[in-house]
Symmetry: C2
Subunit: 362 residues, 2 copies
Amino acid sequence: MLDRFKVPVTEQIRISHDSIWETVFSIFRKMGEPDENAAAAADTLVTADLWGTESHGVSNMVRYYIDYYARGEIKADPQWRTIRETPATAVIDADSGLAIILGKVAMGLAIEKARSVGVGTVSLINAGHSGALGVHAAQAANEGLVGMVMTCGGMRTLPTFGSEGRLSTNPIAFAAPALGEPPFIFDAAMSSVAHNKIRIAQRLGATILPGWLAEDDGTPLMHEHDAPDSDHPLLLPFGGSRSIGSHKGYGLGLMVTIMTTLMPGMRPSMLTGEKGGEHVFTAYDIDAFTDRSLFMSNMGEMLRSLRETPPSPGADRVVYAGLVEHETEVDRRANGVPLHKDVISWFDDICHELSVPPLKRT
Amino acid sequence: MLDRFKVPVTEQIRISHDSIWETVFSIFRKMGEPDENAAAAADTLVTADLWGTESHGVSNMVRYYIDYYARGEIKADPQWRTIRETPATAVIDADSGLAIILGKVAMGLAIEKARSVGVGTVSLINAGHSGALGVHAAQAANEGLVGMVMTCGGMRTLPTFGSEGRLSTNPIAFAAPALGEPPFIFDAAMSSVAHNKIRIAQRLGATILPGWLAEDDGTPLMHEHDAPDSDHPLLLPFGGSRSIGSHKGYGLGLMVTIMTTLMPGMRPSMLTGEKGGEHVFTAYDIDAFTDRSLFMSNMGEMLRSLRETPPSPGADRVVYAGLVEHETEVDRRANGVPLHKDVISWFDDICHELSVPPLKRT
């Protein structure tokens, strides 16, 4: 993430990831989730924080999930079931369970299918939020496969030249393992910016960059400006304006909508007016294409070559998706996860309210 | 394509697509390709011209293909063979055949596998240029499936913050059929601009927009400027600069490199210094996920909703990828394909040289 989204050091308190995991696990148990589900939820959220993806970690999202459970928008202990299946594909109805939990089930099934027939693609429908999508893609890479995940829901992103939101932020995540280098883990919205980042900018008082948001009439805001008051500003497709290529971000976003939502027979938010909640998980068995050891060593060499690319003037170094996240994880596992003091006091309140173990100051 | 890439009306001569097809078919026959291959080549190229994708049609590329055959970089009548296979995957060694020809074979096999197990993913390695990738994705949509294609080769695209090219333009194409609307056919480079478009800008004297190219030291050129003299300028990843999101274009480009090149055991251009030529073709059987009729009607409704989105100030209308291409095809099938007069005289010369039927002026 850009520095503008990081919690300023003076406002930070570092908490061990174990303590955060324990507290978050306990909150999900209180919501009615069985141990396995609560553990999956805590894994997904705490991994995002370990990677420095605060926008999709515990600070931003846990409060929303608690609300969703309370309002019945998501269901604890969901009775998910597979409603259509072939050797390489499946559609799982999530029974309104959270995808931060059921993503593990869906990617697990995709991996099983990939190991059996080469590729596995599993749709998860009627599901809540997926959290940081890269965590689910990484599940495949951690098991030595290549993973691709897409998700959809909402309609605050404009099509190029449009004045009304039609698409969601529609992220794509992709992960591949490498020999001797941290894995490549890509995760990005096909809108210019993830909605959660606007929430963080609002909380931190950060400005919004050119090409991220639009005026109410759809005009791209191509200058830096203050974060809007609105909780639902219009997002531009990735690329910002047509000349920089917003039609590509729009097209990729539509590809994501088709793969996640239309493929398993659902109707997109732009037609239903509802939030939706569809996700698709694909795993590729590397051995179906080549010898995995060859792939792994080529990956390592390629990522090293990228990392060692001479930087352009003014830049410190060239990185690849997953590298900074890996470095951040090493630091945070050792030194704790920095949380904003407002987040800590929110946790103190909710832990008291729910009678669960509070965060431990070290 | 943006207007700047269109042949100016005063420089145009319209030629019927049948005549272009006949001439191009005959040129490929002269190169030593059997009828079936020459027809596939002509289909791929003329379809691009019918869609208005001149950058990947007969004007730009045929001269290069003739060169490649002459220099032995590509082989006529290639003896391609499947070197690894599972129920959902295959790797085809193209024996240095052109992917504008063998794309049909690879996507055909992906479709067969998708119909059998739900998804088919076929790698095509040791292959030449693929032409307009959307044409191959459309092959799946035309048969009622969803298609996704990626291609790779070369290293003139910078990683974000880098000063040396590491990636190719790495396009992604995706196509899905719809009821009552032209299909969604997306095809875009994950660099800011396809290399072929720079060639056209050079020929037409068009300017280059901000965020497309970089200085020799990697600094993004964020102002409009003349087309460079260089045949191999440094391309920026889609997004242009980091703040607009070039790390997303870079990450998507790397995803394409992994899927096309590393997956089937090949090494990327950044490690070999060679051009490479790897492509990957995926087909999804819609019936594996839902009832195809439901998918088709949802697609039609969604594309109509996008098309009818009120435009932002200054914009005529909202379109989706494939719509303008469809409209252009209707016009060009009726009225001929506009070719630049220089292209016509190049065709006259080469047809004379190879003793093949020249383009027919109507």
